[in-house]
Amino acid sequence: METLMAFTVGGLFAAAIYMMLRRSIVKLVIGLVLLSNAANLLLFTQAGLLRGAPPLVPEGAMQPTGVVADPLAQALILTAIVIGFGVLAFAVVLIHRAYEVVQADDMDQMKDTDT
């Protein structure tokens, strides 16, 4: 399972970079979406994948019995997803405003700030 996830993560990173190298700013944002999800999945896989072992403490016990999934990594991903969602919402509004101001969705036409 971890091997499969590793390839998925690698594929997502590759797709994200490919999209970000395109000229259209819409594709750029799609690339950013993929990139943040690739990072989240990597974090998820790193903590180890474990099926059907929720980290619950049985009634009356002081600690969980047997091997359980790592709850911390999942808490981290939850935080990262929320942050990523907020930032991407900003990015979408930004490219919309940029499109209105610049009248183009082509990165090659946005050279005013470079000389």
Partner: protein, 498 residues
């Protein structure tokens, strides 16, 4: 439990919320902002003096003991950075009183300013690597919104580049945290450092270290990741530019200092050699980029990059004196660079342009401003007895002692080219006569510029103070470097004696 460690984060968060409540009342927002940033500066000074007296301070959030809970840690480097953030935040708030137009104030400038400062201070004080990521994002989101305040075309274009590259950096950072967590099973930086010292496979650690280097290198504006910086820093309101120039890249530099002294010291020959090359290339490209520019704020933006190179050089040499130089350089740089941007804003207010070719004759018309420009400009170039001289002197001395001759040569040449750029601004803006065709441009005039002069004068006085009182500042930097080079101090303070 030390309350003063949390105050520099809590105060801007509180005042950010307060200014949101006062959204409709501009005057109240302005007063609370000046009071809030002033209080933040005072709390930062309190924190620094407490850290100076009692050593590294730790606060366990929610009373969860490390390494299980999140800790706020104030060592001398962190406390120094918080004080510098307080100074530049306060200066920006005062400067904004007259420089910020109603239109910009109405779109939430003041709440965003407080949120940015909260994010910056949180990043300086946290002792948890995932928490560092969260504070980075707090800071970034606030900076995104500040950057496009006003919504002009150049701002939009600059913002797209800024947002994209910073999000790439965040994704790298998150991936690196994931790999590090997979390796050590902990997020507490002290605990990570402790666990990695027993690790048997240094190869994978070096790979993770390089991921951190790329991620923080993008944020710091180091070669070859600096392209977002000159594309965006000259576009926002000048008070925002000054705050960004003072703090944002320095958060990246601080993070580099933190992880490459505390966590990744297994393979110093390899990692810090790369850092040294990065430092040299950053210095050179930054200063050469500045030499080609003829716009006031663009020249200053490129100079940020070349100065970042000096700070990384201090870290990369990794001798006690070099780290002292790096810390000293950060202190000098934040004050001077913010001040230069503030001067450029006042020039714009008086003349209505940032283009060097269209400016001129300001030494004749505004001699006071000319002197106030000259102080930070010469300090940036490293002319004694100003602060920049001592910063560069310590670094170059450290380079000579480490017998890294070529980096010393690069640093000296870059210092000379910095002087060239500053003299270019001096000659074009202040010395030559203003070209006739640009002389009668409608401008704001000098109404209300007293506050601006006051801010610039205060910052210039600080520069002179750091230069003339270099010895006590050196002592503080020396103690900070001592803590950085002895990670066991940090680890013991956070995890307790084991």
């Amino acid at each position: 439990m030390r309350l003063e460690v949390a105050l520099p984060v809590i105060i801007p968060l509180f005042f950010g919320a307060l200014t949101l409540i006062l959204w409709r009342w501009r005057l109240a927002q302005r007063v609370t902002t000046v009071v809030g940033t002033g209080l933040m500066l005072l709390s930062a000074l309190w924190l620094l003096s407490a850290t100076w007296q009692d050593g590294i301070l730790v606060m366990h959030m929610g009373n969860w003991q490390a390494p299980f809970g999140i800790v706020l840690v104030s060592d001398l480097l962190g406390a120094i950075m918080v004080v510098l953030a307080g100074i530049s935040g306060f200066a920006t708030a005062v400067y904004s009183l007259t420089s910020m137009s109603k239109r910009h104030e109405a779109f939430g400038y003041y709440p965003l300013l407080h949120l940015l400062l909260a994010g910056v201070n949180g990043a300086f004080l946290t002792g948890d690597i995932f928490n560092l990521y969260v504070w980075f994002e707090v800071m970034l989101v606030a900076s995104f919104a500040l950057l496009i305040l006003g919504g002009e075309r150049a701002q939009m274009e600059g913002a797209i580049k800024y947002v994209t590259l910073n999000l790439v950096s965040s994704a790298m950072f998150l991936s690196a945290i994931g790999l590090l967590y997979g390796l050590t099973g902990t997020l507490n930086m002290a605990d990570i450092a402790d666990k990695l010292s027993y690790a048997e496979d240094p190869g994978i650690i070096t790979v993770i270290a390089m991921l951190f280097l790329v991620s923080f290198g993008i944020k710091a504006g180091a070669f070859p990741f600096f392209f977002w910086l000159p594309a965006s820093y000259h576009t926002p309101q000048v008070a925002v530019s000054a705050l960004f120039a003072a703090l944002l890249t320095k958060v990246g530099v601080y993070a580099l200092f933190r992880v490459f002294t505390l966590i990744f010291t297994q393979d110093v020959d390899y990692t810090h050699e790369i850092l040294l090359w990065v430092a040299a290339a950053t210095m050179l490209t930054g200063v050469l980029g500045a030499a080609a520019q003829f716009e006031f704020r663009r020249i200053l933006s490129f100079h940020i990059i070349s100065q970042i190179g000096y700070m990384i050089m201090g870290l990369a040499l990794f001798t006690p004196l070099a780290i002292v130089g790096g810390v000293f350089y950060i202190m000098h740089h934040i004050i001077v660079k913010a001040n230069l941007f503030l001067v450029s804003g006042l020039v714009y207010r008086l003349k209505g342009t940032y283009e060097l070719k269209e400016l001129g004759g300001m030494y004749r018309s505004h001699p006071m401003l000319a002197i106030l420009f000259l102080i930070p400009a010469l300090s940036l170039a490293g002319i004694p007895p100003l602060s920049g001289f001592f910063a560069k002197f310590i670094l170059i001395r450290a380079g000579v002692e480490a017998e890294a001759w070529w980096i010393v040569a690069v640093a000296l040449v870059v210092g000379l080219l910095t002087l060239y750029s500053m003299i270019k601004i001096w000659a074009e803006v202040f010395w030559k006569a203003q070209p006739e065709e640009y002389a009668n441009r409608p401008v704001h005039g000098s109404a209300g510029s007293g506050v601006l002069y006051l801010t610039i004068g205060g910052m210039a006085a600080l520069t002179v103070f750091i230069g003339l009182g270099a010895e006590p500042i050196y002592q503080i930097a020396d103690a900070a470097a001592h803590q950085l080079l002895n990670p066991s101090l940090y680890i013991d303070a956070v995890l307790g004696e084991r």
